[in-house]
Symmetry: D2
Amino acid sequence: MKAVVLGATGYTGQILLRQLSSHQDIESIIPASSSIAGSKVLDSDPGLHRSIIKKMELTRGEYVSIEEAASYKADIVFSALPHLASAQVCDPFYDHSVVIDLSADFRMEDPELFLKAYGKYPPRAERLASAVYGLSELYRDKIMKSDLIANPGCYPTASLLPLFPLLKKKLIKKNIMINALSGISGAGKKANTSNLLVERSENICAYAPGMTHRHSWEIAKEIHKEDPLVKILFVPHLVPMKRGMAITSSCELTEDISPDSLEDIYKNFYGDSPFVHTVFPAIPETKQVWGSNRCDISWHMEGRTLILFSVIDNLIKGASGQAIQNMNIRFGLDETAGLRLHGEI
Amino acid sequence: MKAVVLGATGYTGQILLRQLSSHQDIESIIPASSSIAGSKVLDSDPGLHRSIIKKMELTRGEYVSIEEAASYKADIVFSALPHLASAQVCDPFYDHSVVIDLSADFRMEDPELFLKAYGKYPPRAERLASAVYGLSELYRDKIMKSDLIANPGCYPTASLLPLFPLLKKKLIKKNIMINALSGISGAGKKANTSNLLVERSENICAYAPGMTHRHSWEIAKEIHKEDPLVKILFVPHLVPMKRGMAITSSCELTEDISPDSLEDIYKNFYGDSPFVHTVFPAIPETKQVWGSNRCDISWHMEGRTLILFSVIDNLIKGASGQAIQNMNIRFGLDETAGLRLHGEI
Amino acid sequence: MKAVVLGATGYTGQILLRQLSSHQDIESIIPASSSIAGSKVLDSDPGLHRSIIKKMELTRGEYVSIEEAASYKADIVFSALPHLASAQVCDPFYDHSVVIDLSADFRMEDPELFLKAYGKYPPRAERLASAVYGLSELYRDKIMKSDLIANPGCYPTASLLPLFPLLKKKLIKKNIMINALSGISGAGKKANTSNLLVERSENICAYAPGMTHRHSWEIAKEIHKEDPLVKILFVPHLVPMKRGMAITSSCELTEDISPDSLEDIYKNFYGDSPFVHTVFPAIPETKQVWGSNRCDISWHMEGRTLILFSVIDNLIKGASGQAIQNMNIRFGLDETAGLRLHGEI
Amino acid sequence: MKAVVLGATGYTGQILLRQLSSHQDIESIIPASSSIAGSKVLDSDPGLHRSIIKKMELTRGEYVSIEEAASYKADIVFSALPHLASAQVCDPFYDHSVVIDLSADFRMEDPELFLKAYGKYPPRAERLASAVYGLSELYRDKIMKSDLIANPGCYPTASLLPLFPLLKKKLIKKNIMINALSGISGAGKKANTSNLLVERSENICAYAPGMTHRHSWEIAKEIHKEDPLVKILFVPHLVPMKRGMAITSSCELTEDISPDSLEDIYKNFYGDSPFVHTVFPAIPETKQVWGSNRCDISWHMEGRTLILFSVIDNLIKGASGQAIQNMNIRFGLDETAGLRLHGEI
């Protein structure tokens, strides 16, 4: 298989290169970057081992332009470009390739909702109907058959995975408070003073609370598929680390239920999913999924008050890893191919 | 004035030494440590400038035993000892000195509540009636007249300051979700593997959720003084930094109210308080109060849903700084003496 | 006294505001910023306590333009502007004010040397003769009488303080290896991707080795005043922290000497200097001087091989703190006024 | 192949489990821990994916005692135990298994040298003659034939790899200054206050300078094999990060040589070595090898003064990774099996 990576110099692009490099079914990688086409991949990303160049023979070990990338008629295209740009730049690829868009451009089925969250209509609204929301564990069947996969945001991925099995069972009452903590890589590799080490180190803060964060809309949209009456309140925070995301959600249960039966619900729902672990009664730490495509889940109950804990690596299960997982599902490959199972120590 | 610091080698003790050193009304500092009495203060705490030794002439620049410390009949005693030990170790000081206890031993007016939170009855329950809860801005009048001040916990301080003015106005409905983030120094200077840099760096997690954290009881106790029907749900998290605490609380308002009138309420309530800043519409970052005795407050509203933000330095306003502030109040000194007003950059 | 701060929004400017705010001899602070003149200081630097506004009444609590700043005829002007710009922007101030330039523009007595290090001639070369190199402990007598003080670089300050007493005694043989580690704030508050938290965290590297770093020239220049034959090899490194600098220098001694007599040499040389501590036989850590204007020094000997250790806070003794110290010296004030003596815990 | 890991709960042990888990030639992993034998591996190391349990069927997913571990007659034994203990605990394994000892017990061919460095004679001195020093790239031929491999220290690995090709060519004059920076995991997972996040964060320091660090002896021993007259001066430093090591060595060359011909020397020497990269003229950062088994090398020359830069992940190429590499060499497997080639972003 041949794989194109658009936006190969950003964090998610860099990780896609690493994952594709060790993926047994990928023979050829085409790294594209509009800004530095023509420069050597190893020079700008020295963490890559020189052996990756073998898989980049088509492009002479260089980043190439979008045009050159399109000329290779790849089987799979990953777009790690910014929202509002991504869907358009992908124009040359829709006809010949499966496209996995890591931006938000195809995440909202309803263009009006996209307008509310992003202030503009989505750039290729006419393709929305053919796109599937790529939260792998929830939409595996649709992903298998789709040629346009909208890779979810990091906050929605980590928030929805623990909530969904309970929503399906109608166990959750009307309000969900979602408190989220994210490492700084969530902001991408942009040159601005606010994410300098000196500004972010020894520092935490909330930002974009409630509906002022675009991911609020994405989370709500999915929850409302199950229960349109649930209200969510989402508050994200920045914490001084590179990678990692922890969600603490709280809500009221509709009925008395024991902590152990919650475990049964999760095991039934995610039993076949290699990347979802429940660790109850322990509380998960982000470290234990760092570098892996996992989402580790646990909970705490006081009466009918439920607190849900979930952790992911925001760049892996929250972005590049889930994209690879979706490729694996789409092409009938081993769902774990190219992905790490173990977190770091 | 002569000041004793019990537990002078822990983080809060070390900071008390620094603050007392630059406090104009303190002539003599008596640092006490049961474990290393007789050793030189400058050797074990090399961050101290040698000039502090002048204020330690009584003890020859050494940590002294509790007995020797008691023999000086100090005006003020700070106990930075662990709970359950502190109140007993302070026995020789109650008669001659004002005691500010930074442990939890006198924080609960009701010994039964202490039992629920700490698993044992408080060690000097007979003195509870004479103790005042030392949240400076709320209990200034009582602190002025008390000889036994129970310095509050860091989480309660940061949680209660933004909530209290609204509770007083009956603006808050029955449920408050308190989400808390703390730097690692909150765990003290104990040798255990779980707080090694290697374990805590690039890592976040929730811990002790709900009523399993002792500070839940302390927070609830204070809130119930204003409204016994309010329920709180408190979830603390550890984040990879030394110092700093951010609280994000959410609740429903009892009436429609504009964000600006909230500002008026805070300005009226805290107008005379040098250490409480409102920064609305900005959201405060912990960095901006790092090293200072401040609590910076802001909020976000969506309809009647209110989100409150507050930040402190957990070791200063959350411990040693508030202790000095309480001493200043008690002795009629300038409330800011010995304390920093500016946060770091 | 009235004090102007040019470049008040950068890290060194921000710290100067804090120090001047708590300096008893400063009545008025005039913060200048060409980029955001007219905006409120408290808005852009929320770490400042609102009480500083009293000292900024002249400028209505706002940053002002260079022109307005010049109109106040301040006693002292601190320039925290970039090199090559600073000396020119200071033109309106030389006649009426003592100028302390934190940039490199006046650090080299010889314009040819400046050319070698910075690639251009210094902007106000005609004033070089009247400038003094402001390494406080070495040039106190000259600083007292000068109206133009070139505040030294951070690396030169931390490197030269331990070396100078030995150079004066002709104890050091011809080669000195200076290995330097710096926190990231040394790079200033510039928006570039290379100093993002995600890039710098969990990462160390050497950079600009040997004479490719401008501070090599500044260090060599000072050493050659004592011994023109000494060669230095300087290699700086970036380490993942906000603030702090550690220098490990190694050289051969010209004669046998005991570690203890080294202590005598330092005590004689720096006995009156409140900011230089020797901590032998301990090895200093940067933490112990964090936030203070100190330089802590120690050493290790194996035969005639000497290793020198020194630590400073790069933003304090390496920049803003030494600038205040130089002001204090120049105006005959207490040398420690407005400066912290204790490091953090 | 069956593999035993002794000391499976420490950092190097934990990483060995991860590497063996994804190693295609390992069928069975036997994790041993004297302290917590009988407890579940997934409970104490939640970063592990549950799939590893399949390879731990022999031990029922539990840590086992040394005795039980010995009963399985494994092909390969990794000892991640402390020095002075390791060689003895391995007694039951020498007869049936290849032993790779990650401790220092077999690193010194000469027991007298071990005595100087460690203060005691090595515990199984009689086996020293049959042990090989496992610096993979230098001793590949010997490692192939040995049943007892002494895995090198992290500092020696990172220091020697850039030096050896030049020593072989007699290019280095008599003094080498080795300046070393290490992340905190080098200190292991021991409960002591000095490596708490609060102590180590925002902090750097030198420690154990010169011959007071044991690795000085190990480095010198290897260098003296090539040139007994070379003197080394080694100074290690702790920097606030989990993992990563950077070495900056400086020395004088014996002849004029161009930077480019240095590149030829390295390419010739390490051309077949998959884990050594030269990145000249760039200077390597530790981040680029984080998680990988790589050593990236570069240099800077001023006249005949040479500065060498090398970076490794101290836990991988400096410990567990090199151990796996040595196993691969010993058993004729692909040298890169089970090891990561790419560093992190």
